[in-house]
């Protein structure tokens, strides 16, 4: 693919040429009457989407239909083409295939479905009903827009993910790609660019929420040379995949954002710090950088403007703490990936002691959109102090898991119940953990809270990078807190005693409570320790790791007390703290529990009520699950 592009490339030699380039690429896309767009994100590929893609190409060819997989710059119309895309965000329904321009949205597509899809689309002008998304009421959604998961979203940053081919820069050109950079180079001074970012109100999406425009302004004013732009794609939060998906699905938008930032602050060099465990993202990133260079969008004399900037890729070893700004810089400099105390601003003395702008992947991806649509338009979305949209990865006990994007200020309820489809099996919602492992755990009475940086902080959680883990009544909050503290203890760099031994001591108390050895004074002890960890630790990992404990202690204190005083785990998670018993009045004597118990712990005879022998019971919960009469509690 790279090669085919090389043969046709004429580098852009003036920003004004970008308009013609866009039109040419649009025409090329339009010449194709039908496109079968196959999701080639990590999850869909794992589900076999590339086989579907190959099969589509083969079968279209076999039918004697003129098929193209590359954008054609010359020639007439083609009947159909197959093309890849990045992640659509709805990975659990993958592999996904969309038919364009109709927008028909097929999910869980298998290789065997390919003939039906082709006939329906090219011969019958119809749809394959059974591959359409099935709503909870049994009706089918023909296009993504009709699927509730997408209907409630505002996909702006993710707009290109799932709609364009991330491996072909010309597809990005066709959807206004690099128009923003052309506009900057042609019509805006670097000061204008920084001013526009400030006006947009864009805040960093990697966790801290620092205003991007202000960061750029400081770096622009700094006198050190050269200056650096770093894109943070370390993404170490378990379960989070927004940055990976953005790079896999629309790498050029991140690169364009970095180039614009470099122009604004006067930087010469850029680095993308990406997790080595993201092989597809790394591959697409390298491909995208090569293509951008070939078109004269990176390197010397960008678009003939005299502005030089190039980007290198640094593959991080993947420690969670390496995403922290000072650890990330140390790691690039070849030092141990440990946070250090820096009292100079990185915008003055950052990488190699030079002025540095460090922003997150999603932050950069917002930049071209802001330049194209204007800061005022951007600032019209969101809340007073949190503008624009935010990408979240929605996981846990929720019907629709996936990557979503909503306007800042959208309520948790809308995110979890409208977009997420609520809790499976109609179980009650219990809590949502926002902000990743060191975020907070929020209860049901916070569901109507609009989500933004400040609101989340106010209720004891944080935005973090946008992880959202939904929990139903089956989750034990003490156990949840224990899980997150264990993660932070493992990932602590180990320098500060407060963070390293403080988290170990917290874990010790939480483990004791889960084993039924908790004492009432433990709660106050944990609170004391949490405040010390926050005060005494050097970096954000330490200062925020108490959040899961403090928030659960605050919102779910009764559950801790149940563990400690009543020796009872209400969610039936902590094994020493609950039993399963048969409710004799409900038991219909069917024997299902008896037959399914893996531990021979149920006594039952025909026409007799079942009974559980506690000594033998391993508390697997299978009896409760299989009983059709709610007779096991």
């Amino acid at each position: 693919m790279e090669q085919e592009i090389t043969t046709r490339v004429t580098p852009i030699s003036a920003p004004s040429e970008m308009t013609a380039m866009r039109e040419q690429c649009k025409d090329a896309l339009d010449r194709r009457k039908t496109t079968f767009r196959v999701c080639a994100g990590t999850a869909c590929i794992a589900g076999g989407s590339l086989d579907v893609y190959e099969e589509l190409k083969n079968q279209i060819k076999q039918r004697g239909i003129d098929v193209d997989v590359e954008l054609l710059f010359e020639g007439g119309e083609t009947e159909a083409g197959a093309s890849k895309s990045g992640c659509h965000g709805f990975c659990q329904m993958g592999p996904l295939v969309r038919i364009e321009p109709q927008g028909t949205f097929y999910n869980k597509v298998k290789v065997d479905d390919v003939p039906n899809i082709i006939s329906a689309t090219l011969e019958d002008q119809g749809v394959v009903e059974e591959l359409l998304f099935e709503n909870q009421d049994g009706s089918r959604a023909a296009t993504e827009k009709e699927v509730p998961f997408y209907a409630g979203q505002k996909r702006i940053v993710l707009g290109g993910c799932g709609t364009i081919n991330p491996e072909d820069i010309r597809n990005y050109f066709a959807v206004d790609g690099y128009q923003a950079l052309a506009k900057c180079l042609q019509d805006m001074t670097p000061e204008d660019v920084v001013e526009e970012m400030k006006k947009s109100g864009l805040r960093g999406r990697g966790g801290g929420g620092f205003p991007a425009g202000r960061k750029w302004e400081s770096a622009a004013k700094a006198t050190g040379r050269p200056k650096y732009i770093i894109c943070n794609a370390d993404e170490g939060d378990p379960g989070a995949f927004m940055d990976r998906s953005l790079i896999e699905g629309n790498p050029q938008s991140v690169i364009e954002g970095m180039i614009i930032s470099a122009y604004g602050v006067g930087a010469k060099y850029g680095v993308v710090y990406v997790r080595a465990e993201y092989p597809l993202a790394v591959t697409r990133l390298f491909l995208a950088l090569d293509q951008a260079r070939e078109y004269g969008l990176l390197g010397e004399n960008i678009m003939g403007s005299g502005f030089d900037f190039d980007i290198e890729v640094f593959q991080g070893a993947g420690a969670f703490v390496c995403g922290e700004s000072s650890a990330l810089r140390a790691s690039i400099e070849g030092l141990p990936g440990e946070p250090t105390a820096k009292y100079d601003h990185a915008t003055d003395k950052g990488l190699w002691e030079k002025p540095t702008v460090l922003n997150n992947v999603e932050t950069f991806a917002n930049v071209p959109i802001i330049i194209n649509q204007g800061a005022d338009w951007y600032a019209s979305m969101g809340t007073e102090n949190s503008k624009g949209t935010k990408v979240f990865s929605l996981v846990g006990n929720i019907v629709n898991t996936g990557l979503i994007e909503v306007e800042m200020g959208t309520t948790l309820r809308k995110i979890i119940f409208d977009i997420g489809g609520g809790i499976p099996d109609g179980k009650p919602f219990k809590a949502v953990q926002t902000g990743g492992p060191s975020g907070g755990c929020l209860p049901a009475d916070k569901l109507d809270m609009p989500v933004d940086f400040d609101q989340l902080k106010e209720v004891g959680s944080m935005m973090g990078s946008g992880g959202m883990i939904v929990m139903d009544e089956g989750a034990c909050v003490v156990n949840v807190a224990k899980y997150f503290i264990e993660f932070c203890n493992d990932e602590s760099c180990g320098k500060c005693i407060s963070c390293r031994d403080g988290s170990a001591a917290l874990l010790n108390i939480l483990e004791r409570i889960c084993e039924g050895e908790g004492r009432e004074e433990d709660l106050e002890t944990m609170e004391d320790l949490c405040h010390c960890i926050d005060d005494a630790s050097m970096c954000g990992l330490g200062t925020s790791l108490p959040n899961p404990v403090l928030s659960t202690l605050h919102y779910f204190r009764d559950e801790y007390l149940a563990h400690i005083k009543d020796k009872n785990c209400p969610a039936k998670v902590c094994k020493p703290l609950f039993t399963y018993e048969v409710i004799t009045d409900n038991c219909k004597k069917c024997g299902l529990c008896f037959r399914n118990c893996p531990s021979d712990a149920v006594i039952w005879k025909k026409k007799e009520v079942a009974e559980i022998i506690q000594d033998k019971c391993v508390k697997c919960g299978i009896c409760k699950e299989v009983c059709k009469f709610d007779a096991v509690e």
Binding site: G494, K495, D501
Partner: protein, 188 residues
Amino acid sequence: MVTFTLNGKELEVKEGTTLLEVARDEGINIPTLCYHEEMSSYGACRLCLVEVIKRGWPSIQPACLYPAQNGIEVNTDTERVRKSRKILLELYLARSPDSQAIIDLAKEYGVRDTRFKLKESERSDCILCGLCVRACAEISKRHAISFAHRGSKRAIQTPFEELADVCVGCQACAFVCPTGVIKIEEAD
């Protein structure tokens, strides 16, 4: 030069001077376990924390690293500092219950007991202050000692487990070790 206040007293010091250096010059006692005036500051023991009010915003900062700045107000012995310091000392007692140096230091600040418990594998008389690492690197210029692993598994890799040929046996590390865990043994 920068001007700021330390425990209510207005001071003028050279730019870049750390709060710990100023405090020591002023005869103010701040406990430390990972600081040595001949070496760079590292900031691992967290015992030197003080309260700094900058532009009206109070925060807790390590005195060994924090540079004196114009207009800040520093207090070395506030309620918040005392509380966090005591809890840190409790953590030290949990980590190194048998270290006399730790027991004595804790006692000095009124801490005789700890509410915390660490697993056997998490306890050690080495408090990971990194003084030996810096002594070897900065004073003896040998780089024979380093940190290894993350989180609770973090440990000092000494040349004494597996005699490193870079170690010249200068004993600088053993000399600076605050808990005396480093014992130099002559190799045959």
